[in-house]
Structures are given as structure tokens and as C-alpha cells.
Amino acid sequence: MSTTLKTRHLRKYFGEVHAVEDVSLDIDAGEVFGFLGPNGAGKTTTIGMMLGLIYPTAGEIEIFGQPVTPSQTAPLQRVGALVGAQPSLIPYLSARDNIQIIADLHPGVTSARIDEVLELVKLTDAAKRKAGKFSTGMKQRLGLAMALVHRPELLILDEPTNGMDPAGMREVRNLLRALAENGTTIFLSSHLLHEVEQICDRVAVLNHGAIVAQGRVSELLSGGTAVRVRVSNPQEAATLLRQLPGVEAVEPNGVYVTVTGCDSQTVVAHLAQHGIIPSEVITPQNDLESLFMQLTQEAS
């Protein structure tokens, strides 16, 4: 399967602030990829770099196999995006005219297609109203329509259901599922974990600019036999735990060590034999929200 979107060791520093720290992602064609993290984790900054809006301090981005930087943005013509807390719209133009000006930048987009996306986002009746008069949810729908009008192969969405009512959220979820089934690759940043759980194939969790977990949702939720322990000396504990028979992986992460392949009793007993008493033992949870809270709080 080809890689649609790739980042390698992406970093962004604003002076002393490390907004994004060593983010490496591979998103395959046709995949729905969830990008999660608390407020201020660096999600929007990462998306800004992907879209050529923000200069990376270090690292590389490739879309459709071609490098993307603020000076090289040609691959973005095949990308549709909805970013920022508020969608970017021209408030004095109507909904239809806002979509039209995006359509004008992409050859082959017809008037019928504009009607189609207005219907997709349920804005047909409001097509002639000025975008500045829309509610937050309506602006979000319009932003989505503007991202979809040119049939992009990759969609990058930052909180696409922001401001929508539950019915609207469900419609967007169904729309994204339908697009993915038709082969569109979707990169979705969202706080709504139950939504991500429902539609995403894989997720990455970002905290303080760094990825703290990445993988298929089902794998992350099952946790396999992953056990997470909090210790005062994670490096020493990791060295000891690698000696355990049957261990599959040992990953120190801050003050925590994650062990896969052994149950919690075996891990704790082995550490205790060597004089290391964990202050916390975490066993896998079975919903994304619990996993998210666990991952983002332990790294804080």
C-alpha cells in the first residue's frame, strides 16, 4: 500500500517552547488516521507544517511522495483541508460564492459539483446567504464543503465537527466513512474520542509535542498484554525487564516503562526482586477515552 502522507522527525520550536518534538507518521492511501491530543499538544502546529503554512524547525514532510515545505506546495493541490478553530471564509460572500472561489482554483470543478457539495453538507437552502451570518456549525459545514469541492485525494481535518449538533456530527461521520470507502485518505484531528474510535483505522496520540502512542485502535485498546509501571529509575527498570522470558517489547517513556508480553504480576515481582518497587501499575483499558487520559496524564 502506498504512503499518502509521511512525516519524518518533524520538529517545531518557538524559541524555548518545543511545540512539536520528533513526530514521525506514515499514513497509507485510503486510511482514516486519527490524530489525538489535549489542547496545546501540538496538533494544529503539526497540521500547519503539513499544509505548508508553518516552517518546520527540523524534519521532512512528504505528500504523494513529494516533499512539502512552505516553498514547495504543489502536492497540496490534491489535498483538501479544514483547519483552525474557525474555518477560513470570506464573510461578505455567500456560501456558494465561497465554494466557487475555491472551485476556480482547481480546473474541472463544475457548477453541478458545487451544488453536490452544498447538498452533502446540508447547506443548499443557505447557499445564497452571506457566510458571515452563519452559525459556528454552519461555518464548519461550509468549510468542509470548500475542502471537498475539488475531490481531494487526501483530506486533512482539524476538529471538523466543531460547533455542530449531534445530528450534524453523525452526518459528518457518515460522510467521512463514505469518502474513505471511496478511497479518500483522511487525516483527522479531533477531541471527540468516541468519534475517532468509530471511524479511524489507526491513531496517534500527541502530548507535549511528542507522540506517546501510535497504532491500530483495536491494538491500542486491547493493549495486548501491555503493562505500564511508574518507577524512579526507568532506564534501570527497562534493562531488568528485558531479561524476562516472553517479553515482546520494553519501552521507557518519561517516568513510565511499558512492557508488552508479560502480565502485571510477573513484571512487578521481577522488579521487586531487584529492589525496584513501582509506585504505579497500569493495566490496559478498553476504551479510547481511558487510554487517552492515561497516556496524556502520565506523560505530564
Binding site: V83, P91, L105, M146
Partner: protein, 284 residues
């Protein structure tokens, strides 16, 4: 992508009320000015010494007067500062700068398209007062001088004068472009631009001229006074039988030097704006 982006910018500008309001303001001021002078003339209050004032609005001098309103030395500079601030800086406020960039349009193309459209706006801001002033002048001239002779105007020179006057606005466009990109704020960009036009060119330059010597020579190189130099050429619209030319109180730069000076200002300000925009992190 340049042509589609220019088309987009035209659509956006045409649907804004601001450009049309500015043209109406210019037209309205000309109507007031011409109307007031005409009323004075008709009232019989003008003496022999002051009767020449009414010639300023009679055909074809009325065309030169109308163009003067639109030039960089007149109200045109201020109006262009406001228009450019709105067209460029407001897109930062709305987040739409990012919208164009993540369509895969290069940063150079985004700014170049805006600049191209603003050049057309400068021509429109010159044409509007010219058309209104010209019509008014043609209508009132029979009352002032007895008859209207349209052939007294050199229409070829008129076209060149429109282009010259629009050209005199270009350094204001470039300077405000730079302010808008640097500040990313419409309010700040308007404030700095209008402050420059009113304080530096409106007050400081006049004081420098009064002082004379080196300060006066420096003042001649400001965009507003270079615009004045180009305006001198506009009097060639008038085909005067006795070869009389309108006198200017100020001794301006040679118009060719002024044209080069305007081009240099434009290249510097626009170059800095492009360079800075290329380096910016854009959020939203």
C-alpha cells in the same frame, strides 16, 4: 495558478463595498469642489483677480484638477492605503491567507495576484474622479467661458495622464503592502499608512520645503512630491493656443527622475514584503 488567483482576487475586490465607496467619495468631493467654485462664479462674487479660479474647473483644465484629486499627492494616496490594508491585512484577520496557501498556491503567486488587482484598482480610482470631473467640467464650461470646445483636450495625453496618476499611487500600494505583511493587522496597517501620508508627506515634507536647502531636496524624493512632479506632465492634456502653462509653487524633480524614484520605492517595499511573507509562519 497566477491567472486563476488573479480572477479570484478580482471577484473578491469587486464584491467588496470599499472600492466602490472610495470611488464615490472621490467623485463626491469633486462634485462639491467643482460645484462650489461654479456657484461662486455664478454668484458674481469673484473679482477680476480671483476669476481665474473658475478656470480651474472649466474644460480642459477641469480634467487636470480632477486627476489631481486622485494622485498620490491628493486624496488618492490615503484611499489606496486604506484599500490595500483591507485587501491584504484583513485576510490575516480572517485566516484566509492560509486558505489560499493550502490550495497549493505559492506565496509569491498569492501576493503577486493581490498586487496586480490593486494596480487595476489604482486605475479605477483615477478614472472615477476623471470621468465625474470631466462630465461636470464639460457641463459648466459654457457658463464660464462661453462655449465648450472638446478639441482643446489632447485625449492621447489624457490616457497617459491617467496612467501617470495611477502610477503615482504605486509606491503607496507597495508601502502599505509591506506594513500589512509585517503587522498582519488591518488596523495597524491603516494607522501607520495614514499616519505616514498625513504626517510625513502632509506636514513634515511641507516644512522641509519651507526650510529649503538640503531638507527641501530630500523632501522632493518622497513619493507624494514625486507624484507632484509627474502631475506637471498632466498639463499637456491642455492644448493651449498661447502656450501658457500652469505655474507650480514648488520646483519639483525632473519627471523622468521621479518616475525612476517611484519604481525604486516600489521594488524595495514590494521586495521586502515578498521576502517577509515568504518567511512567515501562517496560523489558521
Amino acid at each position: 495558478m497566477f491567472a486563476p488567483m488573479v480572477k479570484t482576487e478580482f471577484k473578491k475586490l469587486a464584491r467588496r463595498k470599499l472600492l466602490w465607496i472610495e470611488m464615490i467619495v472621490l467623485g463626491g468631493l469633486i462634485v462639491m469642489f467643482f460645484g462650489s467654485l461654479f456657484a461662486l462664479h455664478e454668484s458674481g462674487l469673484l473679482t477680476e483677480d480671483t476669476s481665474e479660479v473658475s478656470d480651474v474647473i472649466a474644460w480642459p483644465d477641469g480634467l487636470i484638477t480632477a486627476l489631481g484629486f486622485a494622485s498620490g499627492q491628493g486624496l488618492g494616496g490615503l484611499l489606496v492605503v486604506i484599500l490595500v490594508s483591507v485587501v491584504v491585512a484583513q485576510e490575516y484577520d480572517w485566516g484566509t491567507i492560509g486558505l489560499w496557501l493550502h490550495q497549493g498556491i505559492s506565496r509569491r503567486t498569492v501576493l503577486a495576484a493581490k498586487f496586480a488587482v490593486l494596480l487595476v484598482a489604482a486605475v479605477l480610482l483615477t478614472l472615477a474622479p476623471l470621468v465625474i470631473g470631466g462630465l461636470f467640467s464639460a457641463a459648466i464650461t459654457p457658463s464660464i467661458v462661453g462655449e465648450l470646445d472638446l478639441s482643446q483636450a489632447n485625449f492621447g495625453e489624457l490616457v497617459l495622464s491617467v496612467l501617470r496618476t495611477a502610477y503615482s499611487l504605486v509606491p503607496y500600494i507597495a508601502l502599505t503592502f509591506l506594513f500589512a505583511v509585517l503587522t498582519r493587522s488591518m488596523a495597524f496597517s491603516i494607522g501607520v499608512g495614514v499616519g505616514y501620508a498625513l504626517v510625513i508627506e502632509g506636514v513634515v515634507s511641507q516644512l522641509m520645503i519651507l526650510v529649503g536647502g538640503l531638507p527641501e531636496k530630500i523632501a522632493m524624493w518622497l513619493p507624494g512630491l514625486m507624484a507632484g512632479s509627474l502631475s506637471e506632465l498632466n498639463q499637456q492634456i491642455v492644448l493651449s493656443a498661447n502656450g501658457e502653462e500652469r505655474e507650480f509653487i514648488v520646483e519639483y524633480l525632473d519627471p523622468n527622475l521621479a518616475a525612476v524614484g517611484i519604481a525604486v520605492y516600489t521594488v524595495i517595499f514590494l521586495g521586502l514584503a515578498f521576502w517577509r511573507f515568504q518567511k512567515q509562519d501562517i496560523s489558521g
